[in-house]
Symmetry: C2
Subunit: 322 residues, 2 copies
């Protein structure tokens, strides 16, 4: 029988899992809410119940889990996870082996790293050997593939593209630094720009009525819709979002001369609103030669990039992609 | 007999060469002026005469050449070299094989990449697997070693750290972009800061008398001496030089989570003047965890890093470090 693994994407809202064959075909899917705000123990309880069901259904040889946080991959410990409550050095792998048995290999990895692997294996980057993905969501994550392997750095912390300083005098970021890319190109950044703009009582924008009582997750879509029907303020927000992204694209290309930069994450749905200003800025700031060789592409796998990449790690075994 | 190679460092002023054994020991040295301003044909003539002498003296199996420019390594073509006149797609390797015979392997590589390899092989980075070098000279070059190999990128252009935007509204750089690291942390940058400062007639600085009729190569040393005897303006120049460097160190560490960042090149002699402000800025802007793991060190090989790295490439053969 063909080898089948489970790829999991742990999100702030939902746990999404798929059983995946060795060709990357999704055989089945399951999901449930993650309860991330209630704390890591709730997330684990939901995860174990989800995995137990899937293991009962199929002959599973390995599980790969993408997690939004900093992970000690060798030990399978979740060191930090800003979007899951009460996480500090949580031993995910040990816990799962304890609950599911040691017959199934478990691999854990940062979610943006998984997205990079997924796109490289099956998506926008399947024909290249080196790529960088920027995942645009509440924050901004990153993953780097060099020579067909994930570049994890000495402690598995590489790829923190969101915390590249792009304006030394820019707004304060959650990380403590000022002017990080994430504070210009993420849902958090859009919320900030809307809030700052609306302080000007004379600003004419339909957002003034639309934006009340909504959560951060809804803001980018609202600002996107407004931009698409001609709200100038909303359009300019996406333009400055794109400009920041373009600056990062230029820096990354100058530095690593990769073949491709992929824009993924939920906010990549607004590609049409930010890509023009991103490309203009990138070509203005990047060196001619490496910029000529780099392709800038939208994620092809969308929401599935992370769980497919996690599945890839499970298929390869932990050691093979380090 | 032991394998001996020649490592060459082509500089704007001098050609420096050494014969090197397999342990990295320098057996002999020769140098002469490069005549880079007269054009690439003069450089090549000097280089060939230098190499011919060295080959006559010893049993040489390979030659590695570090060049300040963008190189097509596979073909041995120097694509661009801002500090050597009249260079456009110059076939260095072909020319050398034509003149010296095909019995000796010739490898060409960017000079900052050679410096990275040299420090990794024998210098500050000899105990680590991943490092980045920043070479501070007229401009600012960079080289990246990951997993004990040079990361050259898809076209051999990786490592252009000098053209990372660190202030989007900063001064115009030679590359056409604004606010590149190189325009804050290089001899060119120091010249600019001195010039801008001296426009203020009320500024009290000993540089006003010292700085006339000197070339760009002398400026950093003069500003260094002035800073060390208490000239406040000169001290502040090095502080802002360090601050820019610190911002780049934070960005690089967040992005690549390497074990070490090495500061090399001629201006690293002013280490004492810029390192404090560099480290303060780096720790302010970098993420806590990767910053804890990265070591910031001064080059140990100094001027010899490049020719030793070029020698390493010759010892390994062209294909082994790609």
């Amino acid at each position: 029988m063909d080898k089948v693994v489970i790829g999991v994407d742990i999100g702030g809202t939902n746990l999404r899992a798929a059983s995946i064959d060795r060709n990357g075909k999704i055989v089945s899917r399951k999901s449930r809410s993650s309860d991330a705000k209630k704390g890591i123990e709730y997330v684990m309880e939901n995860l174990i119940s989800l995995l137990t069901e899937m293991i009962a259904d199929e002959n599973i040889s390995g599980i790969g889990i993408g997690i939004p946080g900093i992970i000690d991959v060798d030990k399978g410990i979740l060191t930090q996870a800003p979007n899951i409550s009460e996480v500090k050095d949580y031993p995910i792998k040990e816990k799962l082996i304890h609950e599911l048995g040691s017959a199934i290999d478990v691999v854990t990895e940062n979610d943006a790293n998984c997205a990079a692997l997924g796109e490289w294996w099956l998506g926008a980057g399947k024909d290249v050997n080196s790529l960088i993905i920027l995942t645009l969501g509440t924050g901004l994550g990153g993953g780097i593939i060099l020579n067909g392997k994930l570049w994890r750095g000495v402690n598995g912390m590489a790829g923190e593209i969101g915390h590249m300083t792009i304006d030394p005098d820019g707004p304060k970021c959650n990380c403590g630094n000022f002017g990080c890319l994430e504070s210009f190109a993420s849902a958090e950044a859009i919320r900030r720009m809307v809030k700052e703009g609306l302080r000007n009582k004379n600003l004419n924008t339909i957002l003034r009525n639309e934006i009340r009582h909504v959560t951060i997750h809804d803001i980018p879509e609202i600002v996107g819709k407004a931009a698409r029907i001609g709200d100038k303020f909303s359009y300019e927000i996406w333009e400055s979002f794109g400009k920041a992204l373009g600056m990062a694209i230029a820096n990354l290309t100058n530095l690593l001369n990769v073949e491709m930069i992929i824009i993924g994450g939920g906010l990549s749905n607004s590609w049409d609103l930010f890509i023009a200003s991103a490309l203009i800025e990138a070509r203005k700031r990047g060196l001619r030669a490496p910029m000529e060789y780099v392709e800038i592409k939208k994620s092809e796998l969308g929401d599935d990039a992370g769980l497919l990449g996690a599945g890839y790690l499970a298929l390869m075994g932990a050691s093979n992609n380090r």
